[in-house]
C-alpha cells in the first residue's frame, strides 16, 4: 500500500466530471478530500490523499490525465521545528485546513500533518521561522 497527496486542477467547465467516484470504483483507491475549491464553469482545485496499491494509483492518475485534468503530486512536506516553537499561535491564523491549531488545555501548538495542504502559508506567517518546507 502507498499513500500520496495530489492536487487536481480542473479546467473551467470540467468540474462536473465524477472523477473521485471513478477513482474509488474502478481503481480501488481510498480517497480523502483535504481541500476543495470548485464552482461551476470556473477552474477548480481539489486536494486529495490517495491510498492504494502502487499500480492502482498509477492507473488512477493516468485516468485523471485522460480526462483532461492536470494533477500535481506533493513532493514537499512542511516541517515544524517544535523545539524552537514558542506556541504563540500566529501560524494558526492563516492555516486553511486546521492542520495547525491550539490545544486548548495547555495552549500549545498542535500540528496534524495529515490535514496539511502544503500551502506554505504558515511558513511566512511564523514570526520565529519555525515552520519550513522540505523538498
Amino acid at each position: 500500500m502507498k499513500k500520496i497527496k495530489v492536487s487536481l486542477i480542473y479546467p473551467a467547465g470540467d468540474v462536473s466530471k465524477p472523477i473521485t467516484y471513478h477513482l474509488v470504483r474502478d481503481f480501488n483507491l481510498v480517497i480523502n478530500i483535504l481541500h476543495a475549491d470548485i464552482s461551476l464553469n470556473k477552474m477548480g482545485k481539489l486536494v486529495l490523499d490517495i491510498e492504494g496499491e502502487e499500480q492502482d494509483i498509477e492507473n488512477g492518475l493516468k485516468f485523471v490525465e485522460e480526462q483532461g485534468i492536470k494533477y500535481k503530486l506533493f513532493t514537499k512536506t512542511i516541517i515544524w521545528q517544535e523545539d524552537d516553537c514558542i506556541h504563540c499561535g500566529a501560524c494558526t491564523a492563516v492555516c486553511p485546513s486546521n492542520a495547525l491549531s491550539m490545544d486548548k488545555s495547555d495552549w500549545s501548538l498542535t500540528f496534524d500533518r495529515e490535514k496539511c495542504l502544503i500551502c506554505e502559508l504558515c511558513v511566512k506567517s511564523c514570526p520565529l521561522n519555525v515552520m519550513c518546507v522540505s523538498i
Partner: protein, 391 residues
C-alpha cells in the same frame, strides 16, 4: 482587618513561608474560600505575559579600545545602533533592520544572539578627536567582554490590546500577524486574566521601582511606558477596554535567557521581539486580591478593522477574551476563527517560574517608590504649521 505590608510579605518570603499562587489559580481559590479568607492566606499572586513588544531595545557600553575611539556611528552585525551618547555607549532598538540582510535580521536578533553568548560584530566610525584619535574600529564583542548591556524597553506589558481583522479584499501583513481578506480571521494579543496590568488595573501595587521578571532576569519598572493611556474607557470592574496603561522596563541582558527573549519577524511588516515578563502582585488587602480574580470572560477588547489605514479605525465588535480564546467569534452571522499572537503557554510558564522563585526566597518584592499616573491622556500627532496649535 489583617492588611499586610510589603515588609511583612518579604519576611514571609525570606522565611520560606509565603503563600504564592498564579493569577490563573487565584480565581478558583477565591471562589472556594471567599475573599476575606483568601486575603488572609494568600500573600502573592503572580502574573505574566509573553508577547511581541516592538518598543524594546538595549543600552550597551563596549569599553575603550587602544587607541580609544569616540564612536559616532555604530553597527552591530550590520544593524545600526544609536551612538549619539557618550564615547562608547550605544542603544540598539529591537525593530532596527540589518543593512545587509534587511527584514531577515535586526536589533532583536542582535539582542537574542548576545543573550545566547554568541559573538557579535562591532563596527564603529568616528570623526577623531585629540583624546579619541581612532576613526574606525572592527571587532567582535560578546556578553562577557562588554561592560554593561541592559535592556531598556520604553513600552512593554500593554494593559490590554486591540484585536484585529481585515474587511478588505486583499491580504494584510501587520504586527497583528497576517490578516486574511473579507474578515477571514481575527487576531488578538495579551494573556488576558494572567496579564500583569489587567490584574492591577489601577496600578496600586505596580509602580516605579517594582521588581519584575524580565527575559529570565530580575529587572524593574523604570517609569510609566510610552503611550501610557490610563484614561481609556473602563468597564464596571475597572478593567480598560482596549489598549491603555504601559510600563517602561529595565533589566540586565547578561542575566537573561533566550527562553524568554526571542526575536520575531512579521512578514512584510518588520522585526519585533517577544519579551517574557512576570510581575508579582502582593495581596495587601481584599481590594487588591479582588482585582486579581478577574477572568477572561470579564475582560473586553474591541476588534478593529485594520484595512482602514487611519488613526481611528472602525470598531467591528466588542468581545471578551473568553470569546477570543474559544477559537471563533461571530460577526454578522459569520463564524470567524480567532488566533492568538502572544503565547499563553509561555506566559503560564513564567507565572509558574516566578511563583517558585518567590516561594524559595530568590525573588523578593519591592514597594514602588512612586506610582505611575492614573490620569494621562494620549496625544495624537497632527500635521500643522509652526504657530497654529489647537487646544
Amino acid at each position: 482587618m489583617g492588611y499586610k505590608s510589603f515588609d511583612e510579605i518579604n519576611e514571609k518570603i525570606r522565611a520560606g513561608k509565603a503563600v504564592v499562587v498564579t493569577a490563573d489559580e487565584i480565581i478558583d481559590i477565591v471562589e472556594e474560600k471567599g475573599l476575606k479568607q483568601a486575603a488572609k492566606e494568600i500573600d502573592v499572586v503572580t502574573t505574566a505575559t509573553f508577547g511581541p513588544m516592538c518598543s524594546s531595545g538595549m543600552f550597551i557600553n563596549f569599553g575603550h579600545s587602544d587607541p580609544p575611539i569616540r564612536m559616532g556611528k555604530v553597527w552591530l552585525n550590520d544593524v545600526p545602533a544609536y551612538a549619539g551618547i557618550a564615547a562608547v555607549d550605544a542603544y540598539i532598538g529591537a525593530t532596527e533592520l540589518s543593512e545587509t540582510k534587511g527584514m531577515e535580521y535586526g536589533g532583536a536578533h542582535v539582542i537574542e544572539d548576545l543573550i545566547s553568548g554568541k559573538d557579535i560584530k562591532l563596527y564603529a566610525e568616528s570623526y577623531g578627536t585629540d583624546c579619541y584619535p581612532l576613526k574606525e574600529i572592527t571587532t567582535y564583542i560578546n556578553k562577557n567582554n562588554i561592560n554593561q548591556a541592559f535592556m531598556f524597553n520604553p513600552r512593554n506589558a500593554y494593559q490590554n490590546y486591540n484585536a484585529a481583522t481585515n474587511s478588505s479584499e486583499k491580504i494584510l501583513y501587520t504586527y497583528m500577524g497576517t490578516l486574511l481578506p473579507q474578515m477571514g480571521n481575527i487576531t488578538y494579543s495579551t494573556s488576558g486574566q494572567l496579564s500583569p496590568l489587567l490584574n492591577d488595573p489601577n496600578y496600586r501595587t505596580i509602580g516605579i521601582g517594582t521588581r519584575v521578571f524580565i527575559g529570565g532576569a530580575q529587572g524593574y519598572v523604570a517609569w510609566e511606558g510610552t503611550q501610557h493611556n490610563p484614561e481609556q474607557n473602563r468597564g464596571e470592574n475597572g478593567v480598560p477596554v482596549g489598549s491603555s496603561g504601559t510600563l517602561a522596563l529595565i533589566g540586565d541582558i547578561k542575566k537573561m535567557d533566550r527562553r524568554f527573549i526571542r526575536a520575531a519577524v512579521y512578514e512584510k511588516y518588520g522585526i519585533s521581539m517577544f519579551v517574557g515578563i512576570g510581575i508579582p502582585i502582593p495581596v495587601l488587602d481584599e481590594e487588591i486580591l479582588k482585582y486579581t480574580t478577574v477572568r477572561d470572560s470579564e475582560i473586553f477588547t474591541n476588534i478593529y478593522d485594520y484595512s482602514v489605514q487611519k488613526r481611528s479605525r472602525p470598531v467591528i465588535k466588542k468581545v471578551s477574551y473568553a470569546e477570543l480564546r474559544s477559537g471563533s467569534v461571530e460577526i454578522n452571522g459569520k463564524i470567524i476563527s480567532t488566533a492568538p499572537m502572544s503565547s499563553l503557554k509561555k506566559a503560564r510558564e513564567i507565572a509558574e517560574l516566578l511563583k517558585q522563585q518567590i516561594r524559595t526566597g530568590e525573588f523578593l518584592l519591592t514597594q514602588p517608590v512612586s506610582n505611575i499616573p492614573r490620569e494621562n491622556r494620549m496625544s495624537s500627532l497632527d500635521v500643522r504649521g509652526e504657530s497654529n496649535e489647537k487646544d
